[in-house]
């Protein structure tokens, strides 16, 4: 088995684990609004290890999934995740995010940006937008970043993250 194929397989396993965590473990955690978004973690980790086009496509698929499960404004989730996936791939190239904490912070920023685009495109009024972006989104970004750290630590050999930061 070649190294590239092994890496793809490892990445697929991590993605599958994150999807299972999202749909089976996350409902058992705290409030749904502040519990970690494992799908976004999967998207960010995939986008940071692939090209911008693949990241955008992955974001579109994740957003379509979210829209199908929460059709408050169909298409808003797809739009937000597409942009976040594309920017995550570009950001990886710009920031060389091989550091563990930078990766976690990257995910947190991606979640906040996702919420911002989602709320704007779904027509949220100003006060609720303010509360969401200043209270709930940062909390969810924090929990998501913490679980990103755990995932990266658990699969550090596969993701080849330097832990000396």
């Amino acid at each position: 088995m070649t190294t590239a194929r092994a890496n793809r397989l490892q990445l697929a396993v991590v993605m599958a684990v994150l999807v299972l965590l999202h749909f089976y473990i996350r409902p058992r955690l705290w409030s749904p609004r502040v519990s970690p978004d494992f799908l976004l973690i999967a998207l960010m980790l995939y986008a940071m290890r692939s090209g911008p086009g693949a990241g955008a496509l992955a974001g579109f698929l994740v957003g379509l999934t979210e829209d199908a499960l929460t059709p408050a404004q169909f298409g808003a989730g797809a739009l937000a995740h597409t942009v976040v996936g594309y920017l995550a791939a570009w950001g990886r190239a710009v920031f060389f995010a091989d550091n563990l904490l930078v990766n976690a912070a990257f995910v947190a920023v991606g979640l906040w940006l996702r919420d911002f685009i989602l709320l704007i495109s779904s027509g949220t009024d100003e006060r609720q937008l303010l509360v969401e972006l200043t209270l709930y989104s940062p909390l969810q970004a924090l929990t998501t970043a913490l679980f990103t750290l755990l995932v990266l630590l658990a699969f550090r050999q596969w993701f080849a993250i330097r832990l000396d930061a």
């Binding site: 999807v19 299972l20 999202h22 749909f23 089976y24 473990i25 996350r26 409902p27 058992r28 409030s31 749904p32 609004r33 519990s35 970690p36 978004d37 799908l39 976004l40 090209g51 911008p52 086009g53 693949a54 955008a56 496509l57 579109f60 957003g63 379509l64 999934t65 979210e66 829209d67 199908a68 499960l69 929460t70 059709p71 408050a72 404004q73 169909f74 298409g75 808003a76 989730g77 797809a78 739009l79 597409t82 942009v83 594309y86 791939a89 919420d115 989602l118 709320l119 495109s121 779904s122 027509g123 949220t124 009024d125 006060r127 609720q128 509360v131 969401e132 709930y136 989104s137 969810q140």
Partner: protein, 402 residues
């Protein structure tokens, strides 16, 4: 200088990004029915295993975490239910008196709420029950605390609920005191998810609703049954002078925290006509009602006449008594007699052998013991009060108080 392969790689990425972006924008601006249809199709095909997985997770969480709460609620409900038969009988009796039809019983389906991680999760909820369980669009959804929303779209095993936090949500409502009615809608200036998130609009200016008043669904419109708690008034949000007041409501149920809801389903082949009597029944009930009202009025009139007559009689007696009172001897002979101690075994009344009886003829009737002998006593001298009444011009009647 970039190579040709790098340029094609970048161009391909850009094209893919633009295509995905364009599809997202198309979905965003497409009609709502299209989006809901695509979402239903995705949930029923590709995402079905994931939805099933989340439904099992929600069931596991609610079955463990909420066991104690559910047990306590069941115990309290069982205690309250002990009085339900008498309340039902009383309600039925009152409805009969008011010539109302029987109250409709609404069947329901229990479902788990599959919360998502998106910021718009509280506007629409995904439920783990669909058309297989008999759910249809516009079925109301309630939590134990109150109204959650209405079913927006239905797939086979899942359904989407538009909660009261959705900008398009409306429900006709009235206060529990019955003095005000209006329309409840989500507030555009909501600060938190529950407190003050609803507005009670269209309340006439003259109808004042104090804080703490419970607001219920009125049943108008045919979507929500009557009597579902919607929220509690917390204050006046704004008012148009002389026209209407808009009250701030604290929602009864929080969609973001709801884990288990009830969907009030419309039974298949339901005939709502049974809730509304036919024209002939209405006519008969109206006649019956009119007859009942007339009968009640006649009884009330007769009772009033009797009461007036009794009052007149008592007044006349009191008037006569008051007129005679100054001339009456302080102690009536027979009352003094009654107060005297009786002999051990009286065979005849003592006054029957009174020597002072001026009419001995009555004494010659000892064989008639049933006749009170004192009734034959000689009349005492007529008191001055026996003079003709100055008001009526007639003599005072005999004392009937004895």
């Amino acid at each position: 200088m970039t190579s040709a392969s790098e340029r094609s790689y970048t161009r391909r990425d850009t094209v893919m990004f633009l295509v995905c972006l364009g599809l997202s924008v198309v979905g965003l601006f497409s009609p709502a029915n299209w989006g809901l249809g695509v979402a239903d199709a995705l949930r029923e095909t590709v995402l079905a295993p994931l939805v099933w997985l989340q439904a099992r997770a929600e069931e596991g969480r609610t079955s463990r975490v909420r066991l104690r709460t559910v047990t306590a609620e069941r115990d309290s409900a069982a205690y309250v239910a002990q009085g339900i038969p008498s309340l039902l009988a009383e309600n039925e009796h009152l409805r009969q008196l008011l010539a109302l039809s029987h109250r409709l019983s609404t069947p329901y389906v229990a479902a788990e709420v599959l919360h998502q991680a998106q910021a718009t999760d509280s506007r629409t909820l995904l439920l783990s029950a669909g058309s297989i369980q008999g759910i249809a669009p516009f079925d109301p959804v309630v939590a134990p605390e109150g109204l959650i929303g209405v079913v927006l779209s239905v797939a086979r095993r899942t359904s989407v609920v538009m909660t009261w936090a959705h900008p398009e949500f409306r429900v006709s409502a009235f206060t529990v005191t019955g003095n005000a009615s209006g329309v409840v809608a989500p507030s555009a200036s909501a600060i938190t998810s529950v407190d003050g998130a609803l507005e009670f609009r269209g309340v006439p200016y003259r109808d004042s609703v104090p804080p703490g008043t419970l607001v219920l669904s009125s049943g108008l419109g045919g979507v929500y049954p009557k009597g579902i708690p919607v929220g509690t008034v917390t204050g006046v949000m704004r008012e148009q002078e002389g026209w209407e007041r808009v009250y701030r409501l604290r929602a009864a149920a929080n969609p973001g925290a709801a884990a288990h809801v009830l969907i009030l389903v419309t039974p298949p082949n339901a005939d709502l006509a049974r809730a509304f009597p036919s024209d002939s029944e209405v006519l008969a009930m109206r006649r019956d009602s009119i007859a009942k009202v007339r009968r009640a009025d006649s009884l009330a009139w007769a009772a009033e006449l009797a009461r007036v007559a009794r009052a007149d009689s008592v007044a006349a007696v009191r008037k006569d008594t008051a007129t005679r009172k100054p001339a009456r001897p302080p102690v009536r002979p027979d009352s003094a007699r009654v107060s005297a101690p009786k002999p051990p075994a009286p065979t005849t009344r003592p006054d029957s052998v009174r020597p002072a009886a001026p009419k001995p003829a009555t004494e010659s009737k000892p064989a008639a013991p049933t006749t009170r002998t004192d009734t034959a006593r000689p009349k005492p001298a007529k008191p001055p009060s026996a003079a003709p009444n100055p008001l009526t011009g007639r003599s005072a009647p005999a004392d009937t108080t004895r």
